[in-house]
Amino acid sequence: MNSNFHWRPVLRALPDLIQAAFVTLEVAALSMLIGVVLGLALAMARDFTAPAAAPARWLAVAWVALARNTPALFQLYFFGFGLGAWGINMSPLAIVLAGLSFNNAGYLAETFRGGFRAVPAAQMRAALSLGMTRMQAMTRIVVPQVLRAVWHPLTNQMVWAVLMSSLGMLVGLHELAGETQAQASRTFRIFEYFAVAAVIYYVVVKLLVLGARLMAWRLFRGWSPA
């Protein structure tokens, strides 16, 4: 058995891997976008107090509990094989998007709930006292401050989404991990392929974090929370 490393096949496949990395980014970004929208909705639903809103509240509670307390892989499998058993067949991309969005939304719901709590109620009162509508006070005064409070957890979740998207490999999606797996099993250079893929993941995540820091600096410099 030859235990020397052979990097040439991996380097030849590099363009394919980089292309697959863009699929990874796309999946992560889309699932984050959906996750943010759903997470906001869940965060608000969890705090509904009206009796009529109880079903929405319970849905939100169950969603958050399931998303946070079961393996992300199982969540993906639910959308793949679980729904498949009922005759609902989705493409690998749709399965990964659904699974990751479900997971992101569950985590982000808690993040947003904390973010809204971080803004003193007095900020809303002050805005109302100036004659702003509730909507204006929310969008102009409260949400910008929530955004700052959740910026770091949001960045973390984005990183997590990039890494979790590698589960796509298990449902046949050719994102970075899936593509790596396919190429590696053709050439049996398993370690080399996954080592290079790991470097690509690392670079992608580092760039994302750097971008998030730059944006935070641009958005939040000069001011500190109330």
Partner: protein, 240 residues
């Protein structure tokens, strides 16, 4: 004119205001004094509709604040409010803090709103801080910012909720000076305050609140010079 008729306010079982009757005329400065928990601040919140009431009426220039269908956003433009914890908007510069509401509530174009804001900020002595964020200001400066922010809506009335209570002692003076200036300019003001010197010197009338009622009301010389109610006498003996 602000008219308050038989105003009651309950928080659950606790009745904080127990039948307030009060009228404040245009151009008048009314100070409200009294121990903590006597309902002074709650009254201000009921006047601009930030707190619902349990019974009675509040009329601002004839508009029933708590009637169904009253446009509170429009009404609040007539009522400037300054809070104990100044509540400056931390994510906006000093200029934006003041210019935002004139722009999005009054609908002024940005340039005009900023001109109004600049004028009010110069008025309260913050003309050199326009580009700063509130975090860079002292408490006294943030409170003057809050006053400028309320004034930029060109209100008919100003409500001050213990505007100096959260300030370090050396910063109280600058805020009181600003309030004196407003009074001298003829602004109608209701000031909930623990500053007896201010109440005595600036007010046209002083109201003493005790357990949700107006225990005594009158001209400052009478209230501080020869108080009639034993409760007011005891209160003054404690705070003066």
């Amino acid at each position: 004119m602000i008219q308050i008729e038989n105003l009651h306010k309950k928080f659950g079982a606790l009745e904080v205001l127990r039948g307030i009757d009060l009228a404040v005329n245009k151009g008048e400065v009314l100070s409200i004094i009294g121990a903590s928990g006597s309902g002074k601040s709650t009254l201000l919140y009921c006047i601009n509709g930030l707190e619902p009431i349990s019974e009675g009426r509040v009329l601002v220039d004839g508009v029933d604040v708590h009637a169904r269908g009253t446009d509170l956003n429009r009404l609040r433009q007539r009522l400037g409010m300054v809070f104990q914890q100044w509540n400056s908007f931390p994510h906006l510069t000093v200029l934006e803090n003041v210019a935002l509401a004139p722009r999005i509530v009054r609908g002024l174009p940005r340039a005009k709103a900023e001109e109004v804001a600049r004028r009010q900020l110069e008025h309260v002595g913050l003309g050199d801080k326009l580009a700063q964020y509130p975090a860079a200001l002292s408490g006294g400066q943030q409170q003057r910012l809050a006053i400028a922010r309320a004034l930029a809506m060109e209100p008919e009335y100003m409500l001050f909720d213990e505007a100096t209570s959260a300030l370090d002692p050396e910063l109280v003076g600058e805020v009181l000076d600003t309030m004196r200036m407003l009074a001298a300019e003829g602004m109608t003001m209701i000031c909930v305050t623990h500053e007896m010197g201010f109440a005595r010197e600036v007010s046209d009338r002083v109201a003493f609140f005790h357990q949700g009622r107006i225990e005594e009301i009158g001209r400052p010389e009478e209230m501080f010079g020869k108080p009639r109610s034993p409760k007011l006498k005891r209160f003054l003996a404690k705070v003066l």
